[in-house]
Every structure is written in C-alpha cells, then in structure tokens.
C-alpha cells in the first residue's frame, strides 16, 4: 500500500517537473524569439504605429526608442499629418535591428513646399532652355522630403494638333535645385540610376487631362 502511494507520488512529481520543464522551454523559446528593435526617428514631429504584416497592431511609437518584436515582416504608418500614411515595410531577422524611420512627407506638405519653390524651378527651366515659352509646365510634383521634382512640359498647340510631351526631373541639394534629367519624351530608368525609380515611373505616366487642356488654352 505504501509502495503504491510512493509510486503515485513519484509519478505526480515527475509529471510536475516535466510540465514545468516543458513550460520553461516554451517560455525560453518565446522569450528568445523576441528581438530588440532600435527605432530611430530621422524626422521631427513624427509618431508611428507598427503593425504585423497581417495588419495586427503591435505598438505605438511616439519617439525614438527600443521595442521588442518577434522575427517577421512588419510595416509602420506615420500617425502625424505631416507625413504620408503609406505603409513602409521592414523585416526583423535574427539579429537585433535598427530601423530608421524617415517616411515621405504628406501630399499637403509637399504641395506647400512646391508652391514655395515653383518660382525658383521655373526660373531654372526658362533660363536653361530658350524654347520654354513654347511649352506649358504641367503636372508638377515633389517627392519624398521635397528634394525631387518632376514636371511634364507640354508643347503649346493649336486646333486639333496633338502636343509632344517632355519629362524633366530636378533635384534639390544644399537648398539648390539642379536639372538631373533634361527634358525628353521618356526618361529611362537605366539611363538615370541615381534617380529613384518611383520618380521616373510617375513622370513617365500619361499627362493629365488638365495639362493637355492647358497646352491648348494658353
């Protein structure tokens, strides 16, 4: 009887130890799966929310700080109006990672910046190309932090004639604008490896109806 009771006690003890060990292992694996992520804000007035790639919210990050995330793919979106709310994806691998947060400005902010620089850019274009009076500067766009500018130069035409459309890209460096892709019908990504693809792809799109209309009206 006593032996039977001993056996039962031993079995329960072993079971408890086993459960604790297994639980401990799971706990350790779970703990080790988290990595320290150094979130470094490269812009002022910025706050972000981080989501897992399945859209599950993981953390609100109001300033540069260290957070714990598991390995995997995440994205963040700025929560302040000054920045574009586009998703920016990043991946956490096995090592501790530093994520630099430098999202593009919001459309409204870029629009304000563009209005401040339009006169300067137009002066550069008209002083660089004597035939600019034959073209309407249209579809002007600033990108990222306002350091890239693109426009379509629409030939002024009359009647039912179709205009030629030229694309031009400028870059702002040290507060100075410079033409980096001179006007041409198409800008090839291969020819301009230093210009972000998204700028070239955007300017190579079809001109807006408004732009085409302006080439006839003026």
């Amino acid at each position: 009887m006593r032996t039977h009771s001993m056996n039962k006690k031993t079995i329960i003890t072993l079971l408890v130890i086993g459960i604790v060990l297994v639980g401990g292992c799971f706990g350790l694996v779970e703990y080790l799966s988290y990595k320290t992520v150094h979130i470094v804000f490269k812009q002022d007035d910025l706050a972000i929310t981080i989501y897992k790639d399945n859209n599950k919210k993981k953390a609100d990050v109001p300033s540069s700080s260290d957070i714990m995330l598991k390995k995997g793919t995440y994205y963040y979106t700025p929560t302040t109006d000054a920045f574009s709310h586009d998703k920016v994806y990043f991946t956490i691998n096995s090592d501790d990672t530093t994520i630099e947060i430098s999202p593009a400005y919001s459309s409204a902010r870029l629009s304000t910046l563009l209005s401040q620089d339009t006169a300067t850019i137009h002066t550069i274009l008209t002083s660089s190309y004597s035939m600019m009076s034959n073209y309407v500067i249209a579809d002007e766009t600033l990108y990222h932090h306002g350091e890239w500018y693109s426009a379509r130069l629409i030939e002024r035409v009359t009647g039912s004639n179709e205009p030629d459309v030229y694309r031009v890209i400028l870059q702002k460096n040290n507060d100075t604008w410079k033409i980096v892709a001179s006007p041409r019908l198409v800008i090839s990504i291969k020819d301009f490896p230093n210009i972000p693809d998204y700028v070239i792809r955007q300017v190579n799109k079809a001109p807006s109806t408004q732009a085409l209309d302006s080439s006839r009206a003026s």
Binding site: N161, E162, V165, L185, R201, N204
Partner: protein, 207 residues
C-alpha cells in the same frame, strides 16, 4: 583465401568501389563542363570541320562552351564554307546549324545522293528558330506585341550592339509620339523600363 573472404572482397568491389569509380568519372565529366553550356550541332555533311574560335572538331553532336560570343566556321573540302556568329548564354539555347553546298563535282554528287539530310536539317533549323524566338519573347515580353503599326506611328524594336538588350523604336508623325507611348502603356508595359529611340526626330531641348 577462404570463400567468405573472397565473397566479401567481391561485395566490396560491387557495392563500394564500383559506385565510387562511377561517381569519380561523373564528377570529372561535370567538372569539365562547369560554367559551360551545351550547344547542339547539326551540320550537313555531318563530317564537316567545325571551328569555334581557335578550336576545331568533327563528328560531334554537341559542344560545351562558356557563355559568350563565338565565331563558328563550318567547312569541308569541295563545299562552300560558312561562318556564323553565335551567342551562348545560360538562359537561351544556342545551336550550330549549317548546310554546306557543293562547289566541286565530287561534292555535287554527294549532295545529290544526300538530299534527305538537307531536308532534315531545314526542319531542325526551323524548330531551333521557333525555340529561339520564344526564348527571346520570354526574355523581352514586349517584343511579343511588336511591331505595332498605326496610321500615325510605328513601334518596333532592335537589339543593342552587344545583342544583350533591346531598344524600342518609334517612328511617329509630329504630335503622335505621346500616342505611341500610350500604346505601350496600354499593352501593360512601363516605358520607364526601356531605352526608346524616336526615328526622324530631334529633341528641341538638346541645344
């Protein structure tokens, strides 16, 4: 030596030494072809001499060459030699296909007796051309939709001088160049990805 030892040695030979020897031979063969691509050879007459750059050989069905451009000359006494340029790359199939035509009376007699060989080669050449054309379209999908000819523009393509890429060519009436670009967009291709040349056109901004 007793019987069991003999059996053991035979077993050792069959199950260990033989596979090892085979593995060694296969490794040696594959070592020679490392980084090379198989190029099929079909020539008529089949015993013609094939010279690839500075190396000559005869009676081979294929040859392994490193990716690159080669000048291939196929020749045989009594037949007119032919030279062709081939490009060998890892993602396309290269062929050496050549039919030599007679220039001597003996060769003409041979030619008359082997007409079937020439017909067969024509079939192989046609198949190879189709394969090459399909590979080219797979590599540059836009070429599958070109040329496009409309009343106001013509969109085509040509290979770059090094034969490694393509240039889209547009010939358009003034004012219809944007329409040609729109045609490319409508096909689902982004003009940004291509080098595009406009024929009979001068950029007014190139002062």
């Amino acid at each position: 030596m007793n019987r069991s030892v003999k059996l053991f040695l035979v077993g050792l030979g069959l199950f260990i030494v033989l596979p090892l020897a085979l593995w060694g031979i296969i490794s040696l063969l594959s070592l020679n072809h490392t980084g090379k691509v198989s190029v099929d050879i079909t020539v008529v007459p089949s015993d013609a001499t094939i010279q690839v750059d500075n190396t000559s050989f005869t009676n081979k069905k294929s040859v392994y060459l490193k990716p690159g451009d080669y000048s291939v000359t196929v020749s045989k006494d009594g037949f007119e030699s032919t030279t062709q340029e081939i490009t060998v790359s890892e993602d396309t199939t290269a062929h050496i296909i050549a039919a030599l035509y007679p220039v001597s009376s003996d060769a003409t007699a041979w030619y008359n007796e082997h007409q079937d060989d020439y017909y067969e080669l024509e079939g192989i050449a046609g198949t190879a051309a189709n394969e090459t054309g399909q590979e080219f379209i797979n590599r540059y999908p836009i070429t599958g939709s070109l040329p496009i000819q409309k009343a106001t523009y013509l969109i085509g393509y040509k290979k770059t001088d090094d034969q490694k890429n393509i240039i889209i060519t547009i010939t358009a009436y003034e004012g219809y160049r944007e329409s040609a670009l729109q045609e490319i967009r409508n096909l689902g291709f982004d003009p940004s990805n291509y080098t595009i040349e406009f024929n009979n056109y001068e950029n007014p901004f190139n002062e």
